[in-house]
Symmetry: C2
Subunit: 468 residues, 2 copies
Amino acid sequence: MSLTLLAELRGAIGASHVLSDGDLSAYELDWRRRYHGKALAVVLPGSTRQVVQVMQLCAAHGASVVPQGGNTGLVGGSVPDASGTQIVLSLQRMHRVRHIDRANLTMTVEAGCVLQLAQQAAAEQDLLFPLSLAAEGSCTIGGNLATNAGGTQVLRYGNARDLCLGLEVVTAAGELWEGLTGLRKDNTGYDLRDLFIGSEGTLGIITAATMKLYPRPQARMTALAACATLDAALALLGLAQQRAGSGLTGFELMGDFALSLVRKHFPQLPRPLPPCPWTVLLEISDSESVVHAQALFEQLLESALESNLIQDAAVASSLEQSRALWQLRESIPLAQVEEGLNIKHDIALPISSIPAFVAQTDAALMAAFPGVRLVNFGHMGDGNLHYNVQAPEGVAAAGFLREHEPAVNRIVFDAVVSYQGSISAEHGIGALKRDELALRKSPVALQMMRAIKQALDPGNRLNPGRVL
Amino acid sequence: MSLTLLAELRGAIGASHVLSDGDLSAYELDWRRRYHGKALAVVLPGSTRQVVQVMQLCAAHGASVVPQGGNTGLVGGSVPDASGTQIVLSLQRMHRVRHIDRANLTMTVEAGCVLQLAQQAAAEQDLLFPLSLAAEGSCTIGGNLATNAGGTQVLRYGNARDLCLGLEVVTAAGELWEGLTGLRKDNTGYDLRDLFIGSEGTLGIITAATMKLYPRPQARMTALAACATLDAALALLGLAQQRAGSGLTGFELMGDFALSLVRKHFPQLPRPLPPCPWTVLLEISDSESVVHAQALFEQLLESALESNLIQDAAVASSLEQSRALWQLRESIPLAQVEEGLNIKHDIALPISSIPAFVAQTDAALMAAFPGVRLVNFGHMGDGNLHYNVQAPEGVAAAGFLREHEPAVNRIVFDAVVSYQGSISAEHGIGALKRDELALRKSPVALQMMRAIKQALDPGNRLNPGRVL
């Protein structure tokens, strides 16, 4: 049967776009190298019509399909299982920017378009497509939507979901839903769009999307501020929101241990401020001018100094200095890699609960694992912490993980749940957190999710074993 | 059976909260007085626990349930049918503001909370809850969410959906989903929240919600501008977005005939500008100061005058003047009522298509019905027009509607669909547009919607006959 399917797929989209031999690890191995599957074939349709054909053939043969964009996901959601029976459907060849509507401030792009190229297409029209994250050079719009990606501009522009107005989707049965509207308002029935967004390829194949664009701000300015406590950082966030309104486009938190790893492994990077318990990176986007943004920043930071919310601050005086400050923030994950394996948590909390959560969870972990080191950083303005746990100094990381990862996770997730937080803020569930989700999510919600999955993919052929 | 059900409902929530005698027209007749149903009973639970009990009893007896908030909907979605067998579940008694979290900028309110009271609760904390619409004195948060209400601040803050972070929902079977998170990021499975929002009470009963709040702007300023053409108004929108960024919180369009009805029926209202083909109301919200907002407005309008986008402008110099300008805009629906019956359309279009759509549809209607009068106004910044059709001068409105409403609708909706617009931008589907939706929506989308309805309400007991 699988040979017939392969022959039919080759007939439909061309033999050169159906890969079943050779090294397919680019499609079968996930970015963090934790999941290595084996596909029956990797198929690369070149058009929506071809995706429809592929899905109809897979439906006829009862084959499971794993949709894939840039394969940069962090939870093992985009690679096949080990059975050798699944079809990886890569959207890579569907990468066109179909249309930019300047007056409507929208852009229609195909799912395989790399995020950075979508950003560039908007910039060429002097417009802003604000979605921005570390993997932007290789992740795709389809993957961003399937996982409802977050990133560094969520505070002002929202997650991928908030940037999407319409979708084109191929269903499990191979039917085409042409939902590519560029409308800001549309109350004609259930919100299918947001159901597909974040469903990690388990409900349908997103083939294209209409996304929101914005006028490009006249200025983007960045500053670092040193806070003695998390409570002070929280108060600084409130003050910045009050003063800058929606001009505040970034509020990133960096714990001292996280920055110490950057200092250790990337000593060439600048050190604009002396070490302090918490460093905050603030970004303001301004529709008026650099001068206006600068004045706003100065007033804000002066007030914060006077109120003793911050101990010190440094405002970037050029685009280059701005980039250098962001580079500090973005070097934390890389410094962690240099330091060795660690246990990652991508959690969200009500912003007001962050200080209490961190105090309580730090203490619980240090009591359970004396000397344990906490790499704590993240998008504080969105309540999203990357709260990572590193073995004590001198303890072999691999062994620590092998022995203690479940216990560490239990402490962290118990605390997250007790503060009504989320065990996955922006990375999704995939294969990695599926069992944890089944334990942590409300049974009523899980039951509704299963009913919806059954309704839209009754054969359980779309990315089976992920999410649910 | 129905007598047993009534007795059990009385036992569960108290006899005084189960109404089955006397004048129930406040619950049975819709706001536009087009739908007059007959309920078996109106039940008014006082807590989420009681909603669970009511739903379990209704499930056990196979009774249909029509959830109701302020009963201000415009599409007949919140009143029972004529069968005398349905239970109206009014959320009126559940009107508490449960909690305001200042640092998280969220507010948790019960479904029956009147929108204006929610706004006031936020204002008392010096915060802004931006949802705002004509019915705010009597509509409720639950109804706003069930219909994904829009209103006058969508341009900046989005629809009700965009303002909601979490929901508490009772299912058709009487199970409770406690999804009241105050999280900005949460990627733990399918987006149930957005599925319930806008489902018009057909998938579950929203009993409470956690909504976003914002710092209160320091200033809100309003101006009127006169545009000779819709193309000029469109260019003005682009310029205002470029200059004011997200500070632009309102961009309302008013056609001359719409304003002429206001002049005719409310001659006491001010006339800040002489009549012109299109008048735009602009609103800027400013996080800095009145002076800053004023300077922004002056620069913007000066540029617009120089580029010939506008012929004239008037900036409100006080809060009182601002209110007067908004009153002009808000008097249009009232002036229409005075003028007599008309055929209302609540449509959305890609903003860039508005000039072409209006030119084409005006011409088609005037060719088909010589002398027909077009009341055209709406939230242009959101692409949302209230494109209403009034009988020719001297022709009896009732007769015109009786004879021509279907033909008028066909011309308008055909044009809407040809521009990839929406036949219901912010009012929803309810009973009024159910048949039209079945004709106009993609069959694949309808089929998915039906599958979801079947999955979550297999007995079709939640607001049956609405939406689908």
